[in-house]
Amino acid sequence: METVTTPRNARSEPESDGAAVLEIRGLLTRFPGEPVPATVVNDVSLSVRAGETLAVVGESGSGKTMTFVSAMGLVAHPGRVIAGEALLSGIDLLKLPAKELRKRRGAEIAMVFQDPLSGLNPVFRIGDQIMAVIRAHRALSRTDARKEAVRLLERVHIPDAGRRVDDYPHQLSGGMRQRALIAMAIALGPKVLIADEPTTALDVTVQAQILELLSEIQAETGMAMVLITHDLGLVARHADRVAVMYGGRVVEQGALDAIFKRTRHPYTVALFRSIPHLDTPADSDLTPIQGQPPNPSRLPKGCAFAPRCYLAQDRRDCLERSPTLAAADSPGHLSACHHWHDLAAEGDKAR
């Protein structure tokens, strides 16, 4: 393994280190529609281990959020999970009775959403919202729950927590609100924390602080973290492993440096070219990805990326056969492309 140029310690090879805390297998989520249903999560399999950070990358609408919303059994009407499992410590969340599932949500698996402005209820005090979460899982008196809420606010470095606990969301800044939401998410010490673009809505300086906080909590508790993002700079700095999603599928998956240094899917290549990140020299050209993301109700017969892919051109297998996620050249590195060899041949340093 080569040295990785990220501040984080790269962990050992995937598959070798302990059992997965959260393992998603063959997840399929559909929304009914006219004339055909929309498949927003299409046979997705992913896993995260304790202490590990998995980055899930992709454009808007690629199904990255829906995958985890589905795994937590939170798909909104009229959507439905058609197939698949979401194993949390070996127990399939999707087969649990509603009551059991509810007990695990928040307590064992928690989610921090994208927009801290809309994630907090505007008509309740911050403290009351955190207390509601605590008391949903633990039999604490109001006084004790309140103390716990203050402790949690201090834990996420909100200054003057004892006073802030009685504030309404509109009285806090965006960064403070996201901290409050993180406090809520870690209130019960979950095994897995899903952070859905936790910094997209925030200022750049605040972004770094929030991710710092998440890393700090992770280091302290050893929880697994899923970082849903489209910011490859964040991925480089915080992820151990990466899954790239496109059109509801995982198209490439592997260790951080494998994805960054030995990219084996043309969509990932296009992502690197379209988004500025730390490894991009300031003067290099950025090429936006041509075309539109696929409509989940009109997925093509072949590879969903083929219409926008520079490798596919008019290749028949790309247009006719949907590629499956299969081992690429390095161990634990998977790619769903018929022609990943072309990328290997192109030479990795070209990018």
């Binding site: 929304f31 529609g33 006219e34 990255k64 829906m66 939170l74 798909v75 994208q114 539109q292 989940p296």
Partner: protein
């Protein structure tokens, strides 16, 4: 973002067929049912002189309070007038009131709203205050006050309901103008020489039309109910003219023996109002999802 809302919009792609945009209207059952009922009602009202079996006013004292028969499908009232014929002619009054109210409140409302929105400043403030006050004024009371001041007539009813609904239209129109005004300046600076009429036609009308149409259908429904209420109280169009409210009022005297008379007239009113409400709900759902907020508070 489509993937966080938990719903995936299928409308992102350009339509595959030429009239595919019609699909969502045709597929909305409420909208279609409302449209069909309304068309039927308009046809019946327009063709009243030809399809009504009898005159709505001709009394036949030899054949009063007749039970339903082949001769009189819904029987006759205490003066021997044919109920079916009266109901058919009554539809004219109701639709006339609805149409007049829609035309008046739409014309005045869009004008006032556009002036308020475009002029801004004190003009806007004065109009908004007047609007709010009129909205706080119960519409039905306004109608009563009008009738008290100038007697009961079709015009009083129409004037009163129009006054009650004009501020609703103008409030919607004003908010539409305010939202598109910033974009208009951009457009105008880009294409100097674009006449104000073209701006109006290309930008204001298409944006304002959907919410205004929804408010209009609601006002038409309310107008029909208000007319019926005033007629029922004896303050609307005066008997013996056949209006649905008058028929209920006449039928009320004999409701224990001949409930069918009041029943059928009430049903007619309900069918017309249901049709307009279905139409309004359907248009609200299909025209533009964003406008739900703007018109959501209208009754």
């Amino acid at each position: 973002m489509t993937d966080t809302s938990g719903q995936t919009s299928l409308d992102d792609l350009p339509p595959a067929r030429r009239f595919a945009w019609l699909d969502r209207y045709v597929r909305h059952p409420g909208l279609m049912i409302g449209m069909v009922i309304l068309l039927l009602l308009v046809t019946v009202a327009a063709a009243a002189p030809w399809i009504a079996p009898y005159s709505p006013l001709d009394t036949d004292l030899a054949d009063t309070l007749a039970h339903p028969s082949a001769k009189h499908w819904l029987g006759t009232d205490q003066y021997g007038r044919d109920i079916v014929s009266r109901l058919i002619w009554g539809s004219r009054i109701s639709l006339q009131v609805a149409l007049a109210v829609v035309l008046i409140s739409l014309t005045l409302g869009t004008l006032i709203g556009a002036v308020a929105g475009f002029a801004g400043g004190w003009v806007d403030r004065v109009i908004v205050v007047c609007n709010d006050i009129l909205l706080a004024f119960p519409g039905f009371l306004l109608a009563l006050a009008l009738v008290a001041a100038r007697g009961s007539s079709l015009e009083s009813v129409i004037t009163a309901v129009s006054i009650a609904f004009t501020p609703r239209v103008s409030a919607v129109m004003r908010s539409v103008v305010l939202t598109i005004k910033p974009r208009l300046f951009v457009e105008a600076s880009r294409a100097i020489g674009m006449s104000s009429w073209r701006i109006l036609w290309r930008h204001v009308v298409p944006n304002a039309l959907p919410p205004v149409i929804v408010v209009a259908t609601v006002s038409a429904a309310t107008a029909i109910l208000a007319e019926a209420g005033l007629s029922f109280l004896g303050l609307g169009v005066q008997p013996p003219t056949a209006t649905w409210g008058n028929i209920i009022s006449d039928g009320n005297a004999i409701i224990t023996t001949n409930p069918l008379i009041s029943f059928s007239a009430g049903l007619c009113i309900a069918v017309a109002v249901v049709a307009l409400n279905l139409l309004g709900d359907g248009l609200r759902d299909t025209l533009d999802p964003q406008m739900r907020r703007q018109t959501g508070r209208m009754i």
